[in-house]
Symmetry: C2
Subunit: 231 residues, 2 copies
């Protein structure tokens, strides 16, 4: 904003009659074949807890700009697939400083990118199981569970899985991501039949020799996320 900081009003001032909008981000990644969430250590004046990366939304910037700025500042990551979830913390007394409404997003990041960009002095990557045992800020656990539900759903009805796979991948890698996120085993033949019938991936002609028998490498047809089913 153009207003010098010393002239700005205190956003917590009771004379301001509008609530504060915050933005919280659930960053999912598949790391070492586990579904993980990125968390930060939140330095608040009254306590230090694990929390999702988030911030208060600034006037004069779109939500996308706010999202990019928070993500960059809190984690060092840029350019991710994201989706808006809904508002949370809809309780006026939740934050002792004042009335805050949180708008949650989830984002998908490939582990490789995450490892390259993330500043690990500020954040940690934990598995979903680990996250569930942590003492987290506010109802961040609720946001994560909701995000997970949406992620599972989207996985079935779109090809967002591409956001978690490298450019070229073995079909068994793809299947494994489905199994990890959906928490269930999938039949190899049925999975391939389904994926091939959707015509969302194509054989690159190349082979991956990292396993015993070389595996075909596939790639996604187009970059854009495609809704598979729906009305």
């Amino acid at each position: 904003m153009l207003i010098p900081q010393d002239q700005q009003f205190d956003i917590w001032d009771p004379k301001i009659t509008i609530p504060i909008l915050a933005l919280d981000i659930v960053i999912f990644t598949i790391y070492k074949w586990e579904l993980c969430v990125l968390i930060t250590k939140r330095e608040e004046y009254w306590e230090q807890w694990y929390s999702l990366p988030g911030s208060i939304v600034s006037k004069g910037y779109t939500l996308d700009e706010n999202f990019d700025e928070v993500l960059k500042r809190k984690t060092g990551i840029t350019g991710v697939y994201k989706e808006q979830l809904r508002t949370f913390w809809d309780n006026i007394q939740r934050d002792p400083r004042g009335h805050v409404i949180a708008l949650a997003y989830y984002a998908l990041v490939k582990a490789k990118k995450l490892l390259a960009q993330v500043d690990f002095t500020q954040v940690d990557i934990v598995t979903i199981a680990q996250f569930r045992k942590l003492k987290v800020f506010y109802e961040h656990w609720e946001i994560v569970e909701y995000a997970l539900k949406r992620l599972k759903w989207k996985l079935w009805y779109t090809d967002i899985v591409k956001e978690l796979l490298p450019e070229k991948f073995r079909i068994s890698e793809m299947q494994r991501i489905y199994e990890i996120i959906l928490c269930k085993n999938i039949d190899k033949r049925n999975f391939q039949k389904k994926i091939f019938s959707l015509k969302i991936i194509t054989d690159t002609g190349e082979k991956d020799h990292s396993t015993n028998r070389p595996a075909k490498l596939y790639k996604f047809e187009n970059k854009r996320i495609k809704v598979i089913d729906m009305l």
Copy 2:
């Protein structure tokens, strides 16, 4: 809020660094066997256009409380089924007065209730077709189209149709609501087979004599909205 109005800060003041959160509501109803939307005449200082009922969110009240207050004040309606959609107007220059982010909801109201409670000096009920031709405030048309998409989806995967039906109803009335909202004809036998297999409605034993051959009257098993499919 407890702060007297003359001591409150002007929410549009550039010295306030947080954006304003607004709340807009798409109220759907089935009236004369048409899907309708409730609109208001918005009296803004620069123009008068049709608009969805909405308002700026007040600090110190939950979103639910804000929702109820706006709905009551703008339309006279109370106690409806509602669902949060997502944020809109994510463009800092959209409103000439300042940065506003709109949080949209949709609500379902039975026409009978609507006719009993609505103050028609303030609002109008228009069909979707009529709405699409109106000059509406901002991107309210976009909110309505999105709400409609969500409504169609929810209709298939939950039993929200109960929010648009009277306590006791003919199965053909129920089918007709599906046909109106989904914009397609449905086979009578297939529809009944599907609905009965879901076990969400029961025969009251009563008959409706308003048509030639009397029809069985059904009612929903429970009041709570039930997700039918999903993961």
